[in-house]
Amino acid sequence: MSDVNAEISAVDHITNDQALLQIKDLHVWYELKRFGFGHAGYVRAVDNVRFVLEQGEAIACVGESGCGKSSLMKTILGLNIPTKGDVIFDNTSLSQTKGEDLRRYRSKIGYIQQDPFGALPPFMNVQSILEEPMIINGIKDKQERRRRIEKILEEVKLTPIEQVLPKFPHMLSGGQQQRVVIARAMIMEPKLLVADEPVSMLDASVRVEILRLLRKLQEEHHLAVLYITHDLSTVRYFSEYIFVMYAGQIVEFARMEDLLDNPKHPYTLALLEASSDPNADNALVQREIPKGEPPSLVNPPKGCRFHPRCPYMMEGICDVLEPPNIEVTPKHLVACWLYDEEKGHAI
């Protein structure tokens, strides 16, 4: 990476025309129909999200279910069409891409699913699972396919190869299944990996192993990785940057250590408060959890979307005006009125 990029500020990290993946003011809205044809509003799953991801960088997206992280992911993968805004990946604009080009676009992004057993076809053995993407994407040379399979299985440590290839998914353990999923995502040598909760279905003892494997692949292949999770405790070992989503919007964006050690947004604070480390003292305390549930995305609350649950809500500001992105410290952005110089009083 050039010296210029080494000095990028957080704002550049939100708009940078050189980056591998650029999410530009992305909106993904799903239309609601009444009686099958009448328009009845939109579900605003992703609302004005922007960030960039450089080659060789890992970014974590943290949020609860229903916060729009899956919609964001599906749009990046080219499975959803942006309602407004754009996704630019490897100089290809997703909103301009159609048909055959869209298929080629998809082949350049690897996707690691959450549930490995559900993601692998039960009637295919490992060999055909790994071969299929190559056949679809026109790698006709059988030797070449074989070479790639051997190389990738070696990398994800599924050995001895000869024994693994004829196996069906149900014959593998959860960890091994996830390795096959990772191998399949890597087989087209993508520049970007999208990992959707890659370890949440696995046992504690193999989680760390899979995370390390992903980290190793990322470093060796200089991959960009978007790591989607709801579990804050695993991001420390994985990503350089992290952003927190709530109700379709990014509420905080920072370097990983900065966010974990010095969280700013009340929602991030709540997430950190709710995640526990093993400690017997936990049983003695009641945790402070914001009341209520995430809002409906059909009619999101006015102003800050977190204000109905926020313990620091400022009447007349948070429930009226949408909070701006405030750069509290370099490379640390937070969308919260508390940090506004005039209106706020930081916690």
Binding site: A204, R207, S275, A280, Q286
Partner: protein, 321 residues
């Protein structure tokens, strides 16, 4: 030594094997643990170690291929393993010991209203009429934090957290002595999970109920645990009070499990456990963890005894003999 609460459940040498084409699967093999009033015992282990089978064995919810099933389960001063199936169903199941099965929130009946479903156990097991049962259901739903007007809603109209609370209310409506919770929070979001844990901590104090929490999530288990039992390959390898367990686990497997937990507030690099848990079809002789154990020595080829350490902690390992 502090005053200990009254003993509610005492499990001794409980075994449950399943018959398969390739031979018996030793899912629960000689399990011992205790549960005291107003306390929670957490059962930790990887998937396939027999945790859920243990829950089924205690409640005698056996699948058709159950083979060997013996041992002792003492509820207060009665060995409930001695009861015949009919009296077990009438006297014990749901009345004294109830359960929130895995993914209970998705198992609620979609065509029955929440109120009806929560009242049902009270009608079936407590011989209440509909009116009384509904009253009991309302009381319990209030207790677990479900708004009363949800009584007339269907499960698909509720969020995950509210459905999990309703499932919990169903298990508590008969005011049982023991509630078995099988992975109660694994499908929930972080904030919902924490508020359900808050709720269970409160329930544990307020009601005359003890909990058995079955989970693979060690960090969350510490939220509720008074005692911890670690299961590996069908056996309990360590039983300890939570305070000492979370600061200094004894068994090498407990050690490895604790080291594999990613920490949020510390920067310790987590470690993983190499290898796979053994098959329960033909478990290795001697210690079942020996092939993955970093501290293995010659003795480990023999069946390890259960040793008392630090007074009342039990560990099944040759290192402490």
């Amino acid at each position: 030594m502090e005053q200990q609460n009254e003993l509610v459940l005492k499990v001794r040498n409980l075994r449950l094997y399943f018959n398969t084409h390739s031979g018996p699967v030793q899912a629960v093999d000689g399990v011992d643990f205790d549960l005291r009033k107003n306390e929670a015992t957490v059962i930790i282990g990887e998937s396939g170690c027999g945790k859920s089978s243990l829950a089924k064995a205690i409640l005698r919810l056996l699948p058709r291929n159950a083979g060997t099933y013996d041992g002792e389960v003492w509820l207060h001063d009665k060995n409930i393993m001695k009861l015949d199936d009919e009296s077990f169903r009438k006297e014990i199941r749901w009345k004294r010991i109830s359960m929130v099965p895995q993914a209970a929130m998705n198992a609620l009946n979609p065509v029955l209203k929440i109120g009806t479903q929560v009242a049902e156990p009270a009608m079936v097991h407590m011989n209440m009429n509909e009116e009384e049962a509904t009253k009991a259901a309302v009381r319990m739903l209030e207790h677990v934090g479900v708004p009363v007007d949800f009584l007339h809603r269907y499960s698909f109209e509720l969020s995950g957290g509210m459905r999990q609370r309703s499932a919990l209310a169903m298990a508590l409506v008969t005011l049982p002595d023991v509630v078995i919770l099988d992975e109660p929070t694994s499908a929930l979001d972080v904030l919902t999970q924490a508020s359900i844990m808050n709720l269970m901590k409160r329930m544990k104090k307020e009601l005359e109920t003890s909990f058995i929490l079955i989970t693979h999530d060690i960090a969350t288990s510490s939220e509720l645990a008074d005692n911890v039992a670690v299961m590996y390959a069908g056996q309990v390898v360590e039983v300890s009070d939570a305070r000492r367990f979370f600061t200094k686990p004894l068994h090498p497997y407990s050690h490895a499990l604790m080291a594999s937990v990613p920490r949020l507030r510390e920067t310790i690099e987590p470690e993983f456990i190499t290898g796979q848990p053994p098959s329960l079809l033909n478990p290795p002789t001697g210690c079942r963890f020996k092939d993955r154990c970093p501290k293995r020595f010659e003795k480990c080829d023999e069946e390890p005894p259960t040793v008392l350490v630090d007074g009342d902690r039990k560990v099944k390992c040759w290192l402490y003999v």
